[in-house]
Symmetry: C2
Subunit: 296 residues, 2 copies
């Protein structure tokens, strides 16, 4: 389907629009393209600086147990937002977001089986649905790169390698399983920095959960990731493993809920808040200006 | 009531036991004293190094909204644990904790009014209750002191001053209100350190939410805190304000739930985990040993 793209002062009218033409576009323009159905592919590298999220949209009856599960497994499941029941808005992600339309590609599961892939869930929306948004690791990757730590899969334009592991999750209600991890090889002399930098992003999975020998965490073959693509680990580098957002997706599947909506891997929700913003009404004081109040 | 204390290798048998005799006691011994009813007073300074928590014990029907409220207001309401419905155990706080007996003094509210103060809630326990444990600021105070930043209320053996403020909370369900804050005066040349150190403890309220002029956040008189005791702010010092755990207590009160249990201020739950432990099954990698796995 070839579409004619007419760009009018921030308005994109098109049947389809390519990834390349959205590179460098503002978050608002990317969202318009997704919302209109003109763009329904992956989001890595788009709307740079905006928080991207994994999503779990599930009936309210399961929401309390899923929040317990996330609280007990904060590394793979860092909660960045929770909607009211039946509402397509998530307060901490910005008022411009509509959960029913703003994800490029949704996946609808019924009883643990993939039933539909849609680019808009307005027609199947229910008033008992709760949306739980979870952070993802794009954020700390940017911070590592800024610190001069090369990220091989980004450099080689591949999807990060993701592996099933033997790391047990703490269960809650119907939710249980083992952790999916990402792997990034880091030079030995930058490992301490990588640990420290990623630890500062708990909403993006935080610090690694393991390092070194893949067999120690139940990974049979680093060259055969279950998701994504393998990258080389060179001499002088240590594999570091971080908790991955595929974990909650798998857990939701395995719970065989009657109805749950997630999304195609890589096709994230682009939120309307900065990826380094505090998701709080009351942001932290990070510095004090000269001439600030002197208590008399 | 005078009790005769017989200390037998970790077992304390007594009608009542004084705060002073518990100073320096192990967490296990303090918990035994609380659980037996022998000690029902404040917990600041006891079981040094163990995480102390604020508690909200409420009917499951309100738990989802309260967790939403905490997620939207993470500074005053940092969640450190959530129980299963009807269970007195909180997985992330250690298996030795029994919520029904391990808090020195409980407060039971019915329809927003204080109905009872008890040292044991086993008799009124219900199978629809969910316990949500929240962190408190004792943790970052220890870190500030270790960094050589004097905490005046601790030095003077007073309760930290706490104030109602005009800072609005983000609502969820029946939960809404304004933030209660603590105030600690910090020398100007240590303010940057105080911000950085406390920011590292999001489970203990994190970095300050404001500084300087109390009127800017709706505080009329620094010498008249609504809770705790005033401390002097000297020349060369800046008042810093942190979110306070009295906030969720007030919010629960104002919501006028049919039934909710909290606790007397200062009489915290002493958890069985270290105050600086990660509350996660999968702790962060913080360093890599020499001779760690070399990928061949």
């Amino acid at each position: 389907m070839v579409g004619l793209v007419i760009r009018v002062w921030g308005i994109i009218l098109s049947d389809t629009i390519s990834y390349d033409s959205l590179r460098g576009a503002t978050a608002a323009d990317v969202r318009k393209a997704i919302r209109s159905g003109a763009y329904s592919k992956h989001t890595a590298g788009l709307a740079a600086g905006k928080l991207q999220c994994n999503l779990a949209i599930l009936p309210e009856a399961y929401a309390l147990d899923f929040l317990r599960f996330c609280q007990r497994n904060p590394k793979p499941c860092p909660v960045v937002g929770v909607s009211e029941t039946g509402s397509p808005y998530v307060p901490t992600l910005g008022s411009e977001i509509d959960i029913r339309t703003d994800v490029p590609q949704y996946r609808v599961y019924r009883d643990g089986v993939l039933a539909e892939e849609l680019d808009d869930i307005s027609d199947i929306w229910r008033d008992d649905l709760v949306t739980i948004a979870l952070g993802c690791s794009f954020t700390f990757e940017n911070a590592l790169i800024e610190a001069g730590i090369n990220i091989r899969h980004i450099e080689q334009n591949r999807t990060v390698p993701m592996y099933s592991s033997s790391l047990e999750l703490v269960p809650a209600g119907p939710f249980h399983g083992t952790m999916v991890v990402t792997m990034r090889p880091i030079p030995y002399d930058r490992v301490a920095d990588a640990l420290k930098i990623s630890a500062a992003y708990p909403q993006a999975h935080g610090a690694p959960v393991a390092s070194g020998d893949p067999a120690a965490i139940g990974i049979a073959n680093l060259n055969a990731p279950e998701w994504g693509e393998p990258v080389e680990v060179r001499a002088g580098e240590l594999p570091l493993y971080w908790a991955c957002g595929v974990t909650p997706q798998n857990v939701l599947l395995d719970a065989k809920l009657p109805f749950v909506i997630t999304h195609k891997p890589g096709c994230m929700l682009i939120a309307d808040v900065g990826e380094r913003d505090e998701l709080s009404n009351h942001t932290s004081l990070t510095s004090v200006q000269q001439g600030d109040y002197h208590y008399a």
